[in-house]
Amino acid sequence: MSPRLLRRAGSALRYLLLSLAAFLSVFPFFWMAIGATNTTADINKGKVSLGSALSANIASFVAAVDVPLILWNSVKIAVFGTALTLLVSSLAGYGFEMFRSKLRERIYAVVLLTLMVPFAALMIPLFMMMASSGLIDTHIAIILPSIASAFIIFYFRQASKAFPRELRDAAKIDGLREWQIFLFIYVPVMRSTYAAAFVIVFMMNWNNYLWPLIVLQSNETKTITLVVASLASAYYPDYGTVMIGTILATLPTLFVFFAMQRQFVQGMLGSVK
């Protein structure tokens, strides 16, 4: 076989594999959108073409769920939770990198160790803490435990290694205090890191399921993920309606990701070049 032919075969194979991967990742979304326009009976039959039940599905979803309230609950938790997590965890990452000492390295090791504790093991003690603080069935109880995220602290510390210490020294000579350096020098320089962390944390918060499920107790505080799960668990679920819910639950994360795609990729590569 000539080298040219080989190259062609290679690229054909590559396209084939990529197409397969693209199909596998896009098809569920496609089917979700199609499903939203079909009746449950059609969905069960495996119909993959557009149907005419979209407005009926939307109507039954709106009738079953207080949509604005539930979306507001999810948005509130995701936005407040993300903002606080970024602030607190990036401060910690900055601190660990800028003020190194033996003791701090040990503390950092402990922080990293918490990454290895599965959430299931923390759940019950955490639940007792929240209950004794009277925070059960509040959104604060969902946001609080996620603010100091070991993973995000780790992420910021690693990214901070590329932050030029000279910048900090120069700012010090110019008379800036530490919090000013953090706020006016570090944050703008690291903005792609923040953007990438924002995408990750926002998605974690938005899709968070187990902990909100344990903490939230009433229909009025539930998030969109909980509502969709409860609709889908009926003995005979109305899949058309469930699909409307999953679309609503998916759109914000898609939107955030596409809006920040460029910064996300940059951030993953490192803010400082």
Binding site: N44, V88, M128, A131, S133, L135, I214, S230, S233
Partner: protein, 422 residues
């Protein structure tokens, strides 16, 4: 350690914005209920609540729905952590899991014997919520089983409805062979990795994986042996159209691929949804095992209401359940008509909805029949490891079909189960 400090800081910050984020406060005489199906038990409990509020205006209800697995997860977490403030007043628990909760968390649920007249309910529903002679809970929907069959296919094969009354499983297999020979349709369908059929036949034989005291009883268990052998015979005779998953299973009998199905009464609505098959269906009692104590009645699924002992509204919650679920016959007619729910209160059968003949089933008095069988379902102890045993049974059933002696299969099931539940 580090995490804890952050949390401490967070708590203080949290208090500052508590006003912004706090949920609605609880009302004095509000009863909170957890359950899981918006179209079924949630809707039914809302109806029950409205009825009670009419006569007791001081009591209101907050029915919260989560996914079924989530109700269990939340209940488990709150009970395990001893956080009673996070529990509802009433919770719905699936019958197969009832003993697990009652025995794992003694004192967590309020006994209701003496306050509720349990003699009015199907005995098996009361047995599954009894621990040490005390009855906890209010029996709710039943999964009493029936043999749903296609009149047209059976007739084509030369069988009349009477030919399906009071038959054994062996006779059912003979009929199945004749039906397939004449119509080309398989007699029934089954999800082979689902333990449902084993449970149905076993309970109809007055047995379970556990004895009356809840001890593992697999070896020398005549009912379980009968259930396994019956299924192996059906598979060997080629009577079963195998289904992969629930949707496939439902499709097999709603699309006319099979001539009959043995399952819980709750499938009635699904069958009746096929309007073009009206008049073509019939129901009969399920076939019987040829062992002493076996009957033509069994159960698959079902759930019941439980009042938490820690509830501040405990007395009101019990009174509510008692007034509606143990006394209000009209309520049972309404939930049967609107939601297809068959309750466990025997007296409900005297109501108008229960007496109706159904043209879809060729004029059979469907609900009277199910109500007859409901009272005959053998009362067994579901024990606390039914799911584990299901896994062991489905894993070992193929060996029986391949010709392994049944006692050896029972021993294998027993050994696997002992490993899992020790």
């Amino acid at each position: 350690m580090d995490n804890l400090t952050w949390r401490g800081l967070g708590l203080r910050a949290a208090l500052a914005c508590a006003g912004l984020m706090a949920a609605a406060p609880a009302f004095a005489a509000e009863i909170t209920i957890w359950c899981w199906d918006p179209n079924f038990n949630v809707a039914i409990m809302r109806e029950a609540g409205q009825r009670y509020t009419k006569t007791h205006p001081d009591v209101t209800f907050n029915v919260v729905d989560f996914a079924k697995a989530d109700v269990e997860q939340k209940l488990q977490t709150a009970l395990a952590s001893g956080t009673t403030s996070a529990l509802p007043d009433i919770v719905l628990i699936e019958d197969y899991g009832a003993q697990k909760y009652l025995q794992s968390f003694p004192g967590a649920f309020a006994p209701m014997s003496g306050k509720v007249d349990y003699k009015g309910f199907a005995p098996y529903k009361v047995e599954l919520m009894t621990v040490d002679g005390k009855v906890y809970g209010m029996p709710f929907d039943s999964g009493v089983t029936g043999l749903f069959y296609r009149r047209d296919y059976l007739e084509q094969a030369g069988f009349k409805p009477q030919d399906l009354q009071d038959i054994t499983w062996d006779r059912y297999i003979e009929i199945g062979k004749a039906v397939e020979a004449k119509t080309g349709k398989k007699m029934t369908t089954q999800e082979l990795n689902n333990g449902g059929m084993t449970r149905i036949i076993m309970q109809s034989g007055n047995g379970w994986y556990f004895d009356k005291k809840g001890k593992l009883a697999v070896n020398d268990n005549a009912a379980l042996k009968g259930a396994l052998e019956t299924q192996a015979k059906m598979i060997k005779a080629g009577l079963i159209k195998p289904a992969t998953g629930w949707n496939d299973y439902v499709k097999a009998f709603t699309s006319g691929d099979v001539a009959s199905v043995v399952t819980g009464v709750w499938i009635t609505g699904t069958i009746k949804a096929q309007a073009d098959q009206a008049g073509k269906w019939g129901i009969a009692p399920i076939p019987k095992l040829d062992i002493p104590g076996a009957v033509h009645a069994s159960n698959l699924g079902g759930s019941s209401w439980y009042v938490l002992a820690s509830s501040k509204q405990k007395e009101k919650a019990i009174d509510f359940l008692n007034e509606v679920y143990a006394k209000d016959l009209d309520f049972y007619q309404k939930i049967l008509t609107e939601r297809g729910a068959v309750g466990s209160l025997m007296a409900a059968r005297t109501g108008a909805a229960y007496q109706q003949a159904d043209a879809f089933f060729g004029g059979d008095k469907v609900w009277q029949n199910f109500s007859d069988w409901l009272g005959k379902v053998p009362a067994v102890n579901y024990g606390i490891f039914t799911n584990e045993l299901d896994t062991a049974v489905t894993a070992n059933l193929p060996a029986l079909v391949d010709g392994k002696p049944v006692d050896a299969v029972l021993k294998a099931i027993n050994d696997q189960a002992e490993l899992q539940i020790q």
